[in-house]
Amino acid sequence: MALRELQTALGTIIATHAPDLSRRAAQRAWLGTLDLTEAERTWLRQLLNTPGMRLTCTIQRWWRQMRLQQTVRLTLAALPPARRLQVVQAYIATVPCTSLFFIPEAQQFLDFALHTVAGVPHLDAIARFEHALLCAREAEDTSVHTPPDVTALLPSQALHPHQAAALISFSAPPEQLLHALLQGIPVPAPDNHAYAVLVTPRLPHYWRPVTPDEARLFMACQAPTTVERLRTVVEHPAQPLQALIDAGALCVAP
């Protein structure tokens, strides 16, 4: 008996199990193509219709849903209540499970929501913000950080953004928006202003609002750049640049 083939069959059935009979018929036919013994094939075909198989598939979906409820609270809160479950179910049916860890599941869901959900105010910014928070949390480094002094940097020194740093732009005051989402009260309407926040692993709670100069400098560093070049981006770069370096958003190349 080939345990590997048996596990392929069982894993695939769990991952793709569908309650409708047409899919089950397809699964039964697919089992015929695998290198299984007749006893294994018979067992797997019988399993398809058992309450135990249904429950096993349901448990997988429960766990995935539970992981999302704990990790992407803001994004779920930004969805209209009537659409929350619908989006989660569509995600689980569409995107295969790749990990039992909470953060990879959350990041997959946020990518899915960003690509598939339209017409929900603030959703794009909230999903990007929550994604950035998760990345920052994953990258958190508790070692002592001694940021370099900007005034001591050479003009030719290169700067680049920290891999887990992000700049997110909201279309409503972020504190008001996040408060509303967490409290379950109506969110502020989008306005014509851009409210940028910085997310990095070194910030308290991983984020804070940024000034327009900080935002411009951070964006300028998305492409390879030098200290000298940044002096042309804003009029007085020293203070905002130091603030970005202190926050761990920008790193000085060695």
């Binding site: 590997r4 392929t8 198989m53 349901t58």
Partner: protein
């Protein structure tokens, strides 16, 4: 102690190497007295060789081939960290698991612990769930188990769904599991720890007083056994 869920020790195509890497890092950071994993598999490969994650712990068949996959890995894990490695019996819902040589779960666990030298994390709630769901006598099955391999015990409570008693750690320990625990503890000479498992979302369901009652009853069983039978065996107590 470290208790894992993601190793996929029973995957014929290879266990979760990333997970072992995490264990390596953890062991460097904080050595542990023993570590444990669930006996089953999560990872597989698709027909065309791509990785596949089941997303839920799946049972192994009770076969020689499955033993051949798990045994050397269990032995290797104990050697890797220089501390006992335990495997936990799981709850499963798939009927008629394949077996060879008339081997059932008890015989499989006995063969595995005997051949690999690994210990057993005996989850009595999982044991109870399987007994209820598949209609076997839990005590009779325990009486055939190598209890000298038991190093840790888990107890929990759960709910019933679609006719199945489920392993969800959401309630107080049912009386039937207390009976199993009282029977096993004096017969497990190397038992070094008992854990009451409860998911965080179930804290309001059980409540602080409920949790305290579970722990007091566990302590009482443990202390009674300490005075009459053994003292934690070769692993000490935790």
């Amino acid at each position: 102690v470290v208790h894992g869920l993601g190793l996929s020790i029973g995957t014929a195509a290879g266990w979760n190497a990333d997970y072992v890497h995490i264990l390596d890092m953890l062991h460097q950071y904080q050595p542990f007295f023993w570590h444990s994993e669930h006996l089953g598999f999560l990872l597989a490969t698709t027909s065309d060789g791509r990785p596949l994650h089941a997303g839920v712990q799946l049972p192994l068949p009770f076969t020689e081939e499955a033993l051949d996959v798990v045994t050397p890995r269990a032995t290797a894990l104990a050697a890797r960290y220089g501390v006992p490695f335990l495997l936990e019996n799981t709850t499963y819902y798939l009927p008629g698991l394949l077996a060879d040589g008339g081997r059932d779960e008890v015989a499989f666990l006995n063969d595995l612990t005997e051949r690999s030298g690994c210990g057993l994390l005996l989850d009595l709630y999982n044991w109870h769930c399987n007994a209820v769901n598949f209609g076997f006598d839990a005590l009779e099955a325990l009486s055939r188990l190598r209890l000298d391999r038991v190093v840790e015990i888990h107890v929990a409570g759960g709910t019933t769904h679609d006719g199945f008693l489920m392993d969800v750690h959401s309630d107080v320990v049912p009386e039937a599991v207390w009976v199993l625990l009282e029977w096993v503890v004096p017969r497990a000479p190397h038992l070094a720890g008992i854990v009451y498992e409860l998911l965080d979302y179930a804290l309001p369901i059980v409540g602080a007083a409920g949790i305290r009652r579970q722990l007091e009853r566990l302590s009482s069983i443990w202390e009674h056994t300490q005075t009459v039978a053994h003292s934690g065996g070769k692993y000490g107590t935790a």
